[in-house]
């Protein structure tokens, strides 16, 4: 990206859930490059190889908390860490998520509950946990504090055998609009917007494609990648950094009048 190192988030503190992989990691890297201090969470143990290697690479402005976004006590630990280490928070990216595919009549209650727990409850708990700190901190930065909830193009349109994921991401979209209006009317200095990525090259996408291959939908993952590219007007998948650039835009003062908006980044997929 052209502006890496421009330091336009200097003095700001960000929290990113699901920050060890994919879009979350790209957001962490971009925020750090722009001068922010970042706390990231994920499921991995702090002494896991991935967490240690990633945090070593990210440097002193990043810190890590192992947290399951479905557990209130984990969010409380995350809040305590942010409060102790930084005392303020300006940017919250609720990115952690999972997928679920399959014919609707085959979905188990357990799998349905799991995706709702992670994709919907996880976003709700993140917002509930950090709203007081964002409200306290937002007035001190231009454009105010910013909540960025990662929905999906699957939160805008339906897709065969993706109904549970559709429902969870649709919930994130409208939850975001609800809190955006609520914060604005209460004069809280917090904006809230949703991101709607199309198909992005992430571990989650690779795992999902592998599951389809295992089910016999395609011979190998590349067949599915090619099919997704063919369905996308721009003819390619997104790089996670192309989502992080939108998160960065929403985090800063250039988006000061944007709240309750949905930023679709899908190479034209939903325009068709």
């Amino acid at each position: 990206m052209s502006n890496l190192g421009a330091q336009r988030l200097t003095g700001r503190v960000a929290f990113v859930s699901g920050g060890l992989r994919g879009i979350g990691l790209a957001c962490v890297e971009r925020f750090l490059a722009e001068g922010a201090q970042v706390v990231l969470s994920d499921l991995d143990a702090p002494d896991s190889e991935l967490a240690r290697a990633t945090l070593d690479r990210l440097g002193a402005n990043a810190s890590y908390v192992a947290a399951n976004v479905t557990r209130e006590e984990d969010w409380e630990r995350a809040r305590a860490l942010v409060a102790e280490r930084h005392g303020r928070l300006h940017i919250l990216v609720n990115n952690a998520g999972t997928d679920l595919t399959g014919a609707v009549e085959t979905l188990s209650m357990r799998d349905w509950r799991r995706i709702m727990d992670i994709n919907v409850d996880g976003v709700f708990l993140g917002v509930r946990t950090f709203t007081p700190l964002l409200a306290e901190s937002g007035g001190a930065v231009k454009g105010g504090a910013s909540i960025i909830n990662v929905s999906s193009i699957m939160g805008l349109v339906g897709y065969s055998e993706v109904s549970a994921y559709n429902a969870s991401k649709g919930a994130v979209r409208l939850f975001t609009k609800g809190i955006a209006i609520e914060f604005a009317l209460k004069k809280l200095p917090i904006r809230a917007n949703s991101l709607h990525p199309g198909f992005v090259v992430t571990p989650l996408l690779r795992e999902g494609f592998q599951r389809w291959v295992d089910k016999g939908v395609a011979a190998d993952p590349q067949v599915l990648v090619d099919a997704m590219c063919a369905q996308t007007p721009m003819g390619r998948l997104a790089d996670p950094a192309e989502l992080a650039s939108a998160a960065f835009f929403l985090a800063g003062e250039d988006s000061a009048y944007m709240t309750g908006a949905e930023l679709v980044i899908d190479g034209g997929w939903t325009a068709q």
Binding site: G178, I181, L185, L243, A246, D254, Y257, G260, V264, G268
Partner: protein
């Protein structure tokens, strides 16, 4: 932020006032070489002197004059990277019951046909860029694309139409393999000179101001610079995977009902 757009050539239609002038300032500040059009030569001269941008007198609805405009840009600047289809009007508009055919035709000519011509000529120019078909086109729609106004039928219709135009153009560019992105911005109420003038000349200016500021849950109008910031982002390589999108910038006005 400076020089994010350096080396890029940008065209802004209706650039002499309001959001267009804000975009001229912002794109120039970000390093782009900006050409802007319109019909208010006096205002254009001041803006050109301030920003270093170049003014070419042109009305977007004048189809016959488009080739000459684009030939001048190609000849003098060698490329086109950014087009902001901004020119718009509400002159002659009214409710569906009262609007005259002249008023309807005028608003549609500027807001709808003018935007189509801008997108069409921008794509043709961007196709000829030395490094292949690349560029970013941004259309200035309005939140009224989704929330129509009863007393401005032609404006509401035209702003909805250009969202579909944007999506069609984005899909077309993708189908042809052009690396040209096409997106719409949908501002809420923006505190432009036009709106300020409407407020000041109202029978009850205080009530008029309250009505405009009260439309958004944020209880304020957008500043021109805020819309220009979104336009500049969409124009930049930061938005490389964004095409066919419609981004509202309205302080949550269209996010839902305000509740009680």
């Amino acid at each position: 932020m400076e020089n994010r757009l350096s080396g890029k050539v940008a065209l802004v239609t209706g650039g002499t006032a309001g959001i267009g002038a804000g975009a001229v300032r912002r794109l120039a500040a970000d390093g782009a070489r900006v050409i802007f059009t319109g019909s208010n030569a006096a205002a254009a001269e001041v803006l050109a002197a301030e920003t270093g941008a170049r003014f070419l007198g042109h009305r977007v609805e004048d189809a016959a004059a488009w080739p000459g405009l684009m030939a001048a840009i190609a000849r003098d600047h060698g490329r086109l990277d950014i087009a902001f289809a901004n020119a718009g009007t509400e002159h002659g508009d009214a409710s569906v019951e009262e609007i005259g055919i002249e008023g309807w035709n005028h608003v549609i000519a500027v807001n709808q046909t003018g935007v189509m011509l801008t997108v069409q000529h921008a794509i043709r120019a961007m196709k000829a860029n030395p490094d292949g078909p690349t560029g970013a086109i941004i259309v200035n729609s309005s939140m009224n694309a989704h929330r129509a106004m009863g007393n401005f039928v032609a404006y509401s219709v035209s702003k909805a139409a250009v969202v579909a135009l944007v999506k069609s153009a984005a899909v077309h560019c993708g189908n042809r393999g052009y690396r040209i992105r096409v997106n719409a911005v949908l501002p809420g109420v923006v505190e432009t000179a036009m709106i300020s003038n409407l407020i000041e000349t109202a029978t009850d200016p205080a009530a008029a101001r309250a009505a405009y500021t009260g439309m958004s849950p944020l209880k304020r109008m957008a500043r021109v610079e805020e819309v220009a910031g979104l336009v500049a982002w969409l124009a930049s390589d930061e938005a490389a995977f964004v095409s066919g999108s419609e981004y509202v910038i309205d302080g949550a006005t269209t996010a839902g009902m305000m509740g009680v």
